[in-house]
């Protein structure tokens, strides 16, 4: 075929890493026989300066229109080779990587002949694809250097202040009439036993003073459109007034709420109360109980709510110590399943509680405590005996649960929540504060029950993650994105449903006619949309049907089996 582009193939020895198990000379010789290939070179290390220079020289001198490198892995080296092509004036998407180290020499170490044949097969497929590669363009979109923080508790305020102090404008939206969140309702903080209120008040004052932070209290998000760098937000206040603005990044810091134990352990809000209600009594100095029994895991670690809420053991210890501080003669019992007091600070806190004379009694869920009018009866797992403890006050430690409206907010932001209604991060290990949707982040108990120390850390962390976007003038899309042929699209919306990143949407092009459009900045090029599209209107660029079919044909073509 005369219109076949001029392909250059570079085969890497990688010292002995590839050449030790694959006959590199045979692979190179074979490549020379493939249709379209006009130039073949072997390199000791294609990635070395010498190797990269050879690629660039060949592009110029040999008039190469496509470059194929058969080497280690695109995971580490594709950006390097694409860069070399770009420097030689070639569109970097006209480069194709063939992995003959991971997929040949490493996995077939003991079968050098088979490894060599497989390398030849892969090179044949790579060349077949390369002939059909198309130049692709990357798009740049400007970034609005401002952030939206949803939730005006300690976490939202801390994140907002960090960003504002670095010169970014921040819009802080709080549902309640006041900033401060759950901390306003707490008496003390653990493990220091400091008062909660001065801390919150100081932070609120700092926010109010900061000229870069605009607070919207008594307000809710009404609408969020757009994408990373350019989110268009509409906020609605309690009187229905709307405000609109554009931000580059969004931090979700909406917190959680405390589970109300209706119907459990005789909860009545009087003699059987929650830890949060106990904090209220502390604040109002209305605590006069000589015998207090606290029950842990009330409504937690049960089949319908199997998780541990992380903060309840330390909360119980805090409040037990507070009772002891007010009334040293008081007897305080904590009935627990496992003491969740990890790390250096909280294990020491647990020790301090035991030294203060607080009694810890382990119960098992098979034999839970029973609360009668006068006594709590519990089977002590360590003693192996039933104990009856008379009480003045029973305090139930209940878990944090997802805040009301979390799922509506998640829908508006196109981010997921987990089975418990907590926001679900992009990767539980290495992207704990990111959503899969670029430019949206999460911090605090909206994500998972966390200690105050941890939520403050997350607030700073989310601010850093947001700043990585806000610090840039532009966000750049990859060239490898999905593309819609609007003549073939019938607007069924299958691509919109399947897209994890919210990149595909339907737009009306004429009355009654909708077609899909892909936002290249949001698209990750995963191809999920292309595979569900019933009409073939959606194409995953760089992995087009024609390109992949050519590879499959090449893989199956017997004439080239060497």
């Amino acid at each position: 075929m005369s219109d076949r582009p001029r392909v250059g193939v570079f085969v890497c020895h990688c010292g002995s890493n590839i050449a030790g198990h694959v006959d590199v000379a045979a692979v190179a010789e074979y490549a020379r026989s493939l249709p379209g290939v006009v130039f073949v070179q072997r390199n000791m290390y294609t990635c070395s300066d010498a190797g990269l220079t050879e690629i660039k020289t060949a592009i110029t001198d040999q008039g190469l229109e496509r470059v194929v490198v058969a080497a280690c892995t695109p995971r580490t080296h594709e950006p390097l080779f694409r860069g070399a092509c770009r420097e030689a004036g070639m569109n970097p998407y006209l480069f194709e990587f063939v992995n003959i180290r991971d997929q040949c020499s490493w996995v077939h170490m003991r079968e050098p002949q088979a490894a060599t044949r497989k390398a030849q097969d892969l090179v044949r497929m790579g060349v077949a694809k390369a002939c059909l590669l198309q130049p692709l363009e990357e798009q740049e979109v400007p970034v609005e250097p401002a952030a939206l923080v949803v939730g005006g508790g300690m976490i939202g305020m801390t994140a907002a202040l960090n960003l504002a102090n670095r010169g970014f404008d921040v819009k802080l939206v709080e549902r309640e009439p006041e900033l401060g969140g759950l901390l306003l309702r707490l008496d003390k903080l653990y493990p220091t036993q400091d008062d909660a209120l001065p801390l919150v008040e100081a932070r609120i004052a700092e926010v109010r003073r900061n000229p870069r932070i605009e607070g919207f209290t008594d307000s809710m998000l009404n609408e969020v459109k757009g994408f990373v760098g350019n989110y268009e937000v509409v906020v609605k206040d309690h009187e229905g007034r709307l405000s609109s603005f554009t931000v580059g990044a969004i931090i979700v810091a909406t917190g959680a709420r405390v589970f109300i134990p209706e119907g459990l352990y005789g909860y009545d809000g009087q003699r059987v109360i929650t830890q949060l209600e106990l904090e209220k009594r502390f604040k109002e100095r209305e605590i006069d109980a000589d015998r207090v029994v606290m029950i842990q895991c009330v409504g937690a670690r049960i089949p319908e709510r199997p998780y541990c809420s992380r903060i309840c053991c330390t909360t119980a210890i805090k409040n037990a110590l507070e009772i002891k501080a007010h009334r040293p003669s008081a007897e305080v019992y904590i009935l627990y399943r496992d003491t969740e007091t990890q790390g250096t600070r909280y294990e020491a806190y647990y020790t301090r509680a035991r030294e203060a004379g607080i009694q810890f009694i382990r119960y098992s869920p098979e034999r839970p405590p029973e609360v009668s009018a006068k006594r709590v009866v519990v089977y002590d797992e360590l003693l192996g005996a039933k104990l009856g403890i008379p009480y003045d006050l029973v305090v139930l430690s209940t878990p944090l649960v997802a805040c009301d409206g979390a799922s509506e907010l998640a829908q508006m932001l196109k981010v997921p929540v987990d089975e418990h209604g907590f926001f679900l991060e992009a990767h539980v290990k290495l992207r704990p504060l990111d959503f899969a949707t670029d430019g949206v982040f999460v911090a605090g108990t909206a994500r998972w029950p966390s200690h105050l120390e941890e939520t403050i850390t997350q607030a700073y962390g989310a601010a850093a993650r947001a700043a990585t976007i806000l610090s840039k003038d532009h966000v750049t899309s990859s060239g490898v994105v999905a593309w819609v042929n609007e003549y073939l699209c019938r607007g069924c919306g299958a691509c919109v449903e399947v897209c994890e990143f919210g990149a595909s949407s339907l737009v009306q092009v004429s009355p009654g006619v909708e077609v899909a459009r892909v936002n290249p900045v949001m698209c990750k090029g995963c191809g999920a949309c292309a595979s569900v599209c019933p009409t073939g209107a959606m194409t995953a660029m760089h992995f087009t049907d024609a390109q992949v079919t050519a590879m499959v044909r090449a893989a199956l073509s017997s004439e080239s089996m060497s």
Binding site: S16, D338, L430, A464
Partner: protein, 426 residues
């Protein structure tokens, strides 16, 4: 805008560097060892998703190496930090690798020919490496390092096989240490942790019984890239280990050693127990624990699955001692907390969940950096300023400030990046 110095190239240092670099800030990442990657590089899989540790870490290491705003100083140490927040002068001592980083491609041919074998620290001494070595296969930078204590040429002036082998002409025995002076606005300390040496706790039988190993040794054994290619074989006889006992709190929650809880062991032991069963459906795992701590996201569900799907036995107990029967099987003697009676169980392999402790050089480094350590020897921080050290402009992230799991370390790293960035005003 001033640069930032990040000390320690594990996952915390990597994340802090990437966040700062993506904010447009120049970062100097200093790592004591020949490669970044830290402890996470030594792990096989990670809880609660069982993601392959290297597979998720390696792209981040590569991002660090490639980032135009990050300068790597591997095999190097910080020796001084003068000045004050916003305007520090740091001195970095770079050890000679005796290999030209610009020329070496990490192909490893020199190591194949090198005649000297040394226990491989990355693999916990469970296999040998050569005197010239790549720290681990995915090391960043991908360059060889010559171990000056074991290289025959450096010790006795002869050999030089590597010089003859290296086609890139990268071997350079004339290389000397370098002092680099860096002006930085802020510092992030992320030097990580060490594991408590269980030899002092003789009752657990480490060293006395060949089939008693530590949790990190177990990670290397079960790793596909480890010394046994991922087969869980007993050190004493190379036979597959099918009954495995995991002993928790070895050195932790014990006032004579570490009063604190090491935070991550309940979960990493659960993961290890699950992995044993995944590798070998006939394997049975027992976890001997005091309080089971699993309050992180998805942790309780993971433990429930370990019990239900993999039949992991969780035994609430206190282990008194480990003895050995005639077949080298460790015998775990314990008090069963459910029956309050002594009991014992013979296993093929016993794995000790040893405490996470400060690195032995943390105190010295703290002195160099002018920061305080807490009563446990970790870098001192306060609950309401969790990543601030006692010296303004110096921040801490990861296990050097106390035991933390991977996501916690990553969050702390991002937080330290945010705090550090606020000191970089022009």
């Amino acid at each position: 805008m001033r640069d930032v110095l990040v000390v320690g190239g594990g996952i915390a240092g990597i994340q802090a560097s990437l966040d700062l670099a993506e904010m447009g800030i120049q970062v100097h990442l200093v790592e004591r060892l020949p490669s970044i990657g830290g402890r996470m590089a030594q792990l096989d899989k990670t809880f609660p998703t069982n993601d392959c540790s290297t597979c998720i870490l390696s792209p981040k290491m590569n991002d660090c190496a490639r980032h135009p705003n990050i300068t790597l100083h591997t095999y190097a140490e910080v020796t001084a930090l003068a000045g004050s927040a916003g305007d520090f002068t740091a001195t970095v001592h770079e050890h000679p690798r005796y290999v030209d980083e610009a020329k070496c491609t990490g192909c490893g041919e020199c190591a194949q020919k090198c005649p000297t074998k040394v226990p491989d620290a990355f693999d916990m001494g469970l296999r040998q490496r050569k005197a010239i070595y790549l720290y681990f296969p995915q090391a960043i930078p991908q360059v060889m390092t010559i171990d000056p204590d074991h290289c025959i040429y450096l010790q006795r002036g002869k050999c030089g096989v590597c010089i003859k082998t290296c086609q890139a002409e990268a071997i350079d025995f004339e290389q000397t240490a370098r002092e680099v002076t860096l002006r930085v606005g802020a510092v992030v300390v992320s030097v990580g942790f060490d594991f408590f040496d269980p030899r002092g706790l003789t009752q657990f039988g480490y060293e006395r019984c060949p089939n008693v190993i530590t949790a990190l040794e177990y990670e290397r054994l079960i790793s596909a890239s480890g010394p046994t290619g991922g087969h869980l074989l007993r050190p004493s006889d190379g036979q597959p280990a099918r009954q495995i006992g995991f002993i928790q709190c070895v050195g932790s929650r014990d006032v004579r050693y570490q009063a604190f809880c090491s935070s991550v062991c309940c979960m990493h032991s659960s993961k290890q127990a699950v992995l044993a069963c995944e590798h070998d459906p006939e394997a049975t795992s027992y976890v001997f624990y005091a309080d089971f701590r699993a309050s992180g996201k998805g942790f309780r569900e993971y433990v429930a699955r370990a019990e239900r799907e993999y039949g992991v036995h969780y035994v609430r107990s206190r282990v008194a001692r480990v003895t050995e029967d005639e077949a080298n099987n460790p015998v775990i003697h314990y008090e069963d907390a459910d029956t309050s009676r002594p009991a014992r169980r013979a296993v093929d392999l016993a794995v000790l969940a040893t405490s996470l402790i400060p690195r032995p050089d943390t105190a010295r480094l703290a002195q160099v950096l002018g920061i305080e350590v807490d009563s446990n020897g970790f870098v001192k921080t306060e609950p309401l300023t969790p990543v601030d050290t006692t010296r303004p402009g110096v921040f801490a992230a990861g296990c050097c400030r106390g035991p933390s799991d991977i996501p916690e370390s990553v969050v702390q790293a991002s937080a330290a990046a945010a705090r550090a960035a606020s000191w970089l005003v022009d």
